[in-house]
């Protein structure tokens, strides 16, 4: 069924200011096919779909949709032509209800008077409910968008894409912010679309997922198409090799390092109803994993520990001595570093340069009497750019010009410059490419080798099981269990992560 190509992009070329981004790329998607588009950050995936959607113009090549050559000059035209894109960062109108979001820009009218038309809200709600019923989506059309979880918003976007009677739906990293359970819901919708003959272009870094959902895979590397094959014909290793262009052996290196004294001890930590009586200790040289579903309170736990929220109860000890941490400043003074989950919201100053971002948390180390010693600052910035292999044309480049993986390395550099004893990573590899991921894993290994204590929050089970010595599992704000490395299994962790039912909500 997937043999008739619904969409063909041939010989697509694009360059920005003489820098080629896409070089004669071919991309074919069959009807009713789920086609994964993979490659490291900067490989050209986003540019390719932006060209398809009419967001950026191409320099050369042709696009054939349903047998006709097309050129979309705007996303609006692309949508009219049967394409829909679900962006990685959703932009719903939070203060409208779900049904209004679904029909945004094409509201059902009861009276057509141009700009003065009246909206038929009842009809919209009915139509929306009908769509939700068809796709078995348990969301109320009258719910406010703001009340939904990220995953639910994503489902709404998907329904919206389908309701546009799209032939091709493009999903850019759709699972980057949702839990495994929600991924299952998403995949069910994708399967339903496939059955209805809708093609899906699925952009993702997550290899496991792609093998689970996709029919075919096209791999881009450095702006070239380096492979396109059926999923069944590719192995995991072969795919990684295609993406990075080199063999990656030992993708998740786990070193054994001697585990020392307890560095950080948390007991009875509580923040409102989100973090409830959490106690744990982490030792020098140890990687402590913190697993759980999104919303289990893992980020909130480390944020409270770091002084970002005011703890309502609990005690923190550092090397046995009680520490009252009331602000991130206090935590940094006590040599704790927190690499936060969302680098755009909390990690970086996007209008600042690479250097300004690297030195901001450790300004006292590069200054004297409140004055910045520029030479020392330049030296530290350059040292970390080199050590972390940050791809930037200069320390004075705006951090927003870097790819996601390199931005994440800037965040890491910032925290390493504070010379921490305890390094907390909150989803350190979300949305970054395989190469950068591996570098971050190696860095975590290096930290524990130097006797640092590491706390690692990750929703990717393979990642956390590959790296951690011990995993604590959280559900609904509480610790529900601890698993030692020799007992690691996905089933055991998921079982603990789903134990929130036992906790009373009243």
């Amino acid at each position: 069924m997937a043999n008739a190509n619904l969409l063909e992009m041939r010989g697509i070329c694009k360059s920005y200011a003489d820098v080629p981004v896409l070089d004669s790329v071919d991309f074919r998607v069959g009807r009713g096919e789920v086609h994964a588009l993979m490659g490291e950050n900067g490989a050209g995936k986003s540019t390719l779909v932006k060209i398809l959607m009419g967001i950026v113009p191409r320099n050369a090549g042709e696009i054939i949709l349903d047998g006709r050559a097309v050129t979309f000059r705007s996303p609006r035209e692309a949508m009219d032509g049967g394409l829909a894109m679900i962006h990685q960062e959703l932009n719903p109108v939070l203060d409208l209800e779900v049904a209004e979001n679904i029909f945004l820009g094409r509201e059902v009218r009861s009276l057509s008077l141009g700009p003065l038309s009246t909206v038929n809200r009842r009809r919209m709600r009915q139509d929306c409910q009908a769509l939700f019923d068809r796709f078995e989506i348990p969301i109320s059309p009258t719910a406010m968008m703001r009340e939904l979880s990220v995953a639910q918003m994503q489902l709404v976007e998907i329904v919206k894409a389908i309701s546009l009677s799209s032939k091709v739906v493009i999903m850019d990293e759709p699972t980057s912010a949702i839990t495994e359970r929600e991924v299952a819901i998403l995949f069910r919708q994708i399967n339903l679309m496939r059955e209805r003959g809708v093609s899906v272009i699925y952009i993702s870094h997550k290899i496991e997922e792609v093998f689970q959902i996709a029919d075919r895979i096209t791999v881009l590397r450095d702006g070239r198409q380096v492979g396109a094959d059926a999923v069944s014909a590719l192995s995991r290793d072969a795919l990684i090799k295609l993406m990075v262009g080199r063999e990656i052996t030992n993708f998740l290196p786990k070193e054994t390092v001697p585990i020392g004294e307890v560095v950080l001890e948390v007991s009875g930590l509580t923040w409102g109803r989100r973090v409830l009586d959490v106690s744990f200790a982490v030792r020098a040289g140890e990687i402590l994993g913190l697993a759980g579903l999104v919303g289990a309170g893992r980020s909130e736990t480390v944020e409270t520990l770091f002084g970002m929220h005011k703890a309502s109860a609990g005690e923190i000890r550092i090397r046995g001595r009680q520490a009252a941490i009331r602000s991130p400043r206090g935590a940094i003074k006590r040599r704790i570093a927190l690499i936060t989950e969302d680098r755009k919201m909390t990690g970086l100053n996007l209008v600042g340069t690479v250097e300004e971002n690297i030195s901001i948390a450790a300004l006292d180390r590069v200054s004297r009497f409140g004055m910045i010693r520029k030479r020392r600052e330049h030296a530290s910035a350059d040292e970390y750019i080199q050590r972390m292999n940050i791809k930037t044309f200069s320390r004075a480049a705006l951090v927003s010009s870097l790819s996601g993986g390199n931005q994440q390395k800037v965040v890491l550099a910032k925290w390493l410059l504070t010379d921490p004893d305890v390094v907390i990573f909150d989803e350190p590899t979300r949305g970054i490419d395989v190469g950068a991921k591996r570098e971050i894993y190696l860095l975590i290994g290096e930290l524990v080798r130097h006797g640092k204590a590491v706390v690692l929050i990750s929703s990717e089970l393979l990642e956390i099981m590959g790296l951690a010595d011990r995993i604590l599992v959280m559900a609904a704000g509480r610790l529900t269990g601890e698993v030692q490395r020799r007992d690691f299994s996905q089933e055991r962790i998921m079982e603990l992560a789903a134990r929130f039912n036992e906790v009373e909500h009243g």
């Binding site: 200011a17 003489d18 820098v19 450095d222 770091f306 970002m308 602000s327 991130p328 400043r329 935590a331 940094i332 003074k333 927190l338 936060t340 919201m345 909390t346 990690g347 970086l348 100053n349 996007l350 209008v351 600042g352 300004e356 030195s359 901001i360 948390a361 300004l363 006292d364 200054s367 409140g370 004055m371 910045i372 520029k374 791809k391 930037t392 044309f393 480049a397 910032k414 504070t418």
Partner: protein, 322 residues
């Protein structure tokens, strides 16, 4: 790979970074050509800088506030309030001159601290806090002076703004230069300056990075208030009186200088010299249009258009850089 990452420093980038300087030079060159006799005289040029100085002092404080993503509408009223205070402390033979100099600056700083605390701790939008201050302290100035200008100031007080260094450089120009030099130093070389940019760029990330965001915010409003107090002192000295209606609309001219100078209203982006050129440009154009006999009504239209285009060029430049 490294080659692909290396960006060419294109002519377009150069114009974007220094376009304001060229625009300024172009306006000056045009005026020199149009009116060589009147405009290009050294006396006139010094006069222009003198004209720009009080606004420049206000704009410098405003720049710090805007760099953190805030705004300070209260500076015009602070100029009036501190002006009447300064003048009333400057009656001949009553107090030492130091009192008349320090009091307005400290009062201005105190109002700034109030603004800053309300923004930082009270979490009230800066626009609203400083709008309230603007109205309140205009009233305070009128109450303090019984609604009439305060006259009878000492000669020493008058000298503060009208004296000359070496017989030809007005003190006002010297103050402006010194304040500019300090602000450049603070923004470029100090930890505080770096924190101002960090707070404006992303306050959440700044807090997570261990910066006391509240302290930085209180600091910039205090600085803006103190400089407004100093400007109030200068204006009172220059006009030899403290007028409760002085400084009306000064906050807008200061904001205009900062915007023309390319400082981003959303915070985190802007150079110290942009504000200086912004203040000078406003003054140069006013002076040039006077010399060319353009009516005051038309001058307003032209000034508004310049602000409009400065921002337009800035926004378009940013979009095309993506």
């Amino acid at each position: 790979m490294a080659e692909a990452l290396r960006r060419k420093y294109t002519l377009a980038r150069f114009f974007q970074d220094f376009g304001l300087v060229f625009m300024f030079l172009a306006v000056v060159a045009a005026l020199v050509v149009l009116s060589p006799g009147a405009f290009a005289r050294p006396q006139n040029l010094i006069g222009i800088i003198k004209q720009a100085s009080i606004n420049g002092v206000l704009a410098t404080g405003m720049m710090f506030v805007i760099l953190t993503g805030g705004i300070d509408l209260s500076v015009g009223s602070i100029v009036a309030f501190t002006g009447v205070i300064a003048a009333s402390l400057a009656h001949p033979g009553e107090h030492s001159l130091a009192v008349a100099i320090l009091a307005p600056v400290l009062v201005g700083a105190a109002i700034g601290v109030f603004n800053g605390l309300s923004v930082a701790k009270g979490d009230i939008p800066p626009f609203i806090v400083t709008l309230a201050s603007m109205i309140m302290f205009r009233g305070a100035a009128l109450i303090f002076s019984n609604g009439a200008p305060v006259f009878n100031v000492s000669d020493g007080f008058e000298q503060i703004a009208s004296g000359f260094v070496l017989g030809w450089v007005p003190y006002l120009v010297v103050y402006f230069a010194i304040i500019t030099a300090i602000s450049a130093f603070v923004l470029r070389q100090t930890v505080f300056g770096r924190r101002v940019y960090a707070v404006g760029g992303n306050p959440v990330s700044a807090a997570v990075s261990g910066i006391n965001v509240h302290a930085v915010i209180v600091g910039v409003y205090a600085l803006s208030g103190a400089l407004a107090g100093f400007a109030g002192l200068l204006l009172a000295s220059r006009t030899v009186s403290g007028s409760p209606t002085a400084g009306e609309g000064y906050e807008l001219t200061a904001i205009a200088a900062v915007i023309i100078g390319g400082v981003s209203m959303s915070g985190g982006v802007g150079k110290w010299w942009g504000t200086v050129i912004g203040a000078l440009l406003i003054s140069v154009i006013g002076n040039g249009l006077d010399i060319l006999n353009v009516s005051a009504y038309f001058q307003l239209v032209i000034m508004g258009a310049i602000i409009y285009f400065a921002v337009l060029v800035d926004t378009k430049g940013k979009v095309s850089r993506r």
